[in-house]
């Protein structure tokens, strides 16, 4: 995913720079940092106060979370930083494999899962979610591909690359069951999104299936890719916390913090900075466990 040529890198930097410039002009110099809010901070359960909270993130998902040089950056990462500033808590971001995050939260290794989690009913049985964004699922392929995506049925007969443990893997599995035995859908699941992208680039998979804005970013930054068809299954993203009393309390605090960040313009500034404004939601959509499927 970091296969950006020098020229493109410069162009990307320039465009991001101009976006920031535009947003700061329109939003009245709203920063992406956020600031301490005493009322929201009161909501943080006592057991978490003064502690450093362990956050789990799979940083192979640009522009939401990825590694640039040696640091983790992205829309989710900035939002989490702004949330922690608002609540006055300390956090440490851990870069881990996606399909181990929910188990890690249940085992008590992490108290926050911040990794573009689609809030689903199945996942809500395992963790709490504070919904904060909306994304669909998109299909991408190599530029010279002749594949057409017109709904899941059209994936039959193809090899699809997905990241292990994502909703795309679940949805591709369900789609595979509807294919006839002569046109089987082969799913190749990889530990990271980067490997799934590489599989598409190498020809080991005919298409990749990933959250829509990630697909958009891959196509824009890695040469040799294109989007196929339009996004499907638009669903909320959620920040995950443990299914314990303290975990539920923390979810309420995070919910209040995000609402504050929307009200003071920080939320919009972060989304604009990372070019994902189309997935932004209003304050009323910042719900607890609001899965639609």
């Amino acid at each position: 995913m970091q296969r950006i040529t020098r020229v493109r890198q410069v162009l990307a930097m320039a465009s991001i720079g101009s976006l920031v410039l535009v947003s700061s002009l329109t939003a009245g110099a709203a920063s992406t940092k956020g600031k301490y809010n005493a009322a929201d901070a009161k909501l943080v359960p006592t057991s978490f106060k003064g502690k450093t909270l362990q956050v789990a993130t799979d940083a192979t998902y640009a522009p939401d979370e990825y590694i640039k040089g040696t640091t983790m950056v992205g829309f989710d990462v900035d939002l989490m930083k702004a949330i922690s500033t608002t609540l006055g808590i300390k956090i440490v971001e851990n870069n881990v494999i996606f399909d181990g995050i929910i188990a890690g939260i249940q085992a008590g290794k992490y108290v926050i899962g911040n990794s573009s989690f689609t809030d689903t009913k199945a996942r809500e049985k395992q963790v709490n979610f504070v919904d904060y964004f909306q994304a669909g699922e998109g299909v991408y392929a190599k530029s010279n591909s002749t594949v057409k995506f017109t709904g899941f049925k059209s994936l039959c007969g193809l090899t699809v690359a997905v990241e292990s443990g994502t909703v795309e893997q679940t949805d591709a599995k369900a789609a595979a069951k509807t294919c006839s035995s002569s046109k089987k859908l082969t799913i190749r699941a990889f530990a990271t999104q980067t490997l799934a992208n590489t599989a598409v680039l190498s020809g080991q998979a005919s298409v990749g299936f990933v959250d829509s804005q990630i697909a958009g970013y891959i196509v824009a930054t890695v040469p040799g890719f294109k989007l196929v068809g339009s996004a499907v299954n638009v669903a909320p993203y959620g920040v995950a916390t443990p299914k314990t009393t303290a975990g539920e309390g923390l979810a309420v605090a995070i919910q209040a913090a995000i609402k504050t960040l929307i009200a003071n313009g920080t939320y919009a500034a972060i989304l604009t900075h990372w070019g994902v404004s189309s997935g932004g939601v209003t304050s009323g959509k910042i719900t607890l466990n609001g899965a639609i499927s």
Partner: protein, 335 residues
């Protein structure tokens, strides 16, 4: 009571106090392990019933190690399918590895310097890079070669074209990676076996008029096998678990199948236990096989082969029985 010259000495068995304490500690630890393995913990749910108009509730218990979930998935079709792939990968990779290993070991010991250096370089390369990296190398080979042609070198004459992407499926890429890598390790094992055979054996074979090929096949290899078998058994067991790396290139072997199930039901521990038990079962069967193969090749070297576990159990029982028997002999009657 026995006499030693004038002094009467009471003979007592040596008291192995340290050993006994050690055994007791080990037994307690084993008991604790078994206890925790089969313990139950509150599930967080309650079972309520109404008796004489009063509601009684007590916490619902569940296995700490989720044995009910383990049982549910232990023989599920995904797991068995994954197990089949693991066994197939292990068997084929090891076969490739052993054949390649013997070939490279013989080349390495050749007096032809080109052959010896080629063999040395092979081992140097495949042993010197991580098998995990080699796995990705073969899976993504299409970045380097769109197709591979078989024909006359340095000309455009080709008899057969191999389309890289369609040839290197996750399964085949894993086979090639594990087989070639294992060849390097097996060559070192085979070489140590060949070198362990006394030089006099070669001289004797020569004096009998055997060709080099006959000497290798009929004299050296059968004796070298005795040295080669134990580490090879080790390699087979190691390979069984190494195949789990193939999940990285999306081959759904045993551990990959377990991960796929836990990705949808979030029962990560029970599925790791399911995979773990299957690996242990296969390892146990392989270890038993290794014992008998070792015993077979020990024929030429040992006058009496080591007893099989069944024979040992029988002799232990006989020992215990004879002790019981001698105790029954009245005092004063013993010699």
């Amino acid at each position: 009571m026995e006499t030693n010259g004038d002094v009467t000495v009471k003979v007592v068995p040596v008291r192995h106090v340290g050993r006994w304490i050690g055994a007791v500690v080990a037994l307690v630890l084993v008991a604790m392990l078994v206890h925790t393995l089969f313990s139950k913990v509150p599930s967080g749910q309650y079972v309520c019933q109404t008796v004489n108009g009063l509601r009684h509730c007590h916490p619902k218990l569940q296995w700490r190690f989720y044995w009910n979930v383990v049982g549910r998935y232990f023989t599920s079709s995904e797991i068995l399918h994954g197990l089949g792939l693991t066994l197939l990968l292990t068997a084929i990779s090891m076969t490739v590895g052993i054949v390649l290993g013997i070939l490279i070991a013989v080349m390495r010991l050749s007096s032809n310097r080109v052959l010896a250096m080629t063999a040395w370089s092979y081992t140097w390369f495949f042993r010197g890079t991580p098998v995990y990296a080699q796995l990705f190398f073969w899976f993504f080979l299409s970045f380097l070669f769109k197709s591979i042609s078989f024909g006359i070198p340095f000309t455009h004459v080709a008899f057969y074209h191999l389309h890289t992407v369609s040839f290197f499926t996750p399964f085949r890429a894993a086979l090639v990676a594990f087989g070639l890598n294992e060849g390097a390790y097996m060559s070192e094992i085979a070489r140590s076996g060949l070198m362990a055979v006394d030089e006099g054996q070669v001289e004797a074979a020569k004096s009998l008029g055997m060709t080099r090929g006959q000497t290798l096949r009929l004299v050296i290899l059968p004796q070298a096998m005795r040295v080669i078998i134990p580490p090879t058994g080790n390699e087979v067991i190691s390979m069984l678990k190494t195949t789990s790396l193939a999940a990285a290139i999306s081959a759904v072997e045993l551990l990959g199948a377990a991960t796929q199930i836990s990705n949808s039901n979030y029962q990560i521990m029970p599925l790791l236990i399911v995979a773990g038990i299957w690996y242990l079962i296969v390892t146990t069967i392989l270890s038993i096989g290794q014992f008998y193969v070792e015993r077979h090749y020990a024929r030429g070297a040992l006058r009496t082969p080591p007893p099989t576990p069944i024979q040992r159990l029988r002799s232990d029982l006989r020992g215990v029985l004879s002790k019981v028997h001698t105790k029954r002999v009245p005092a004063g009657m013993s010699p």
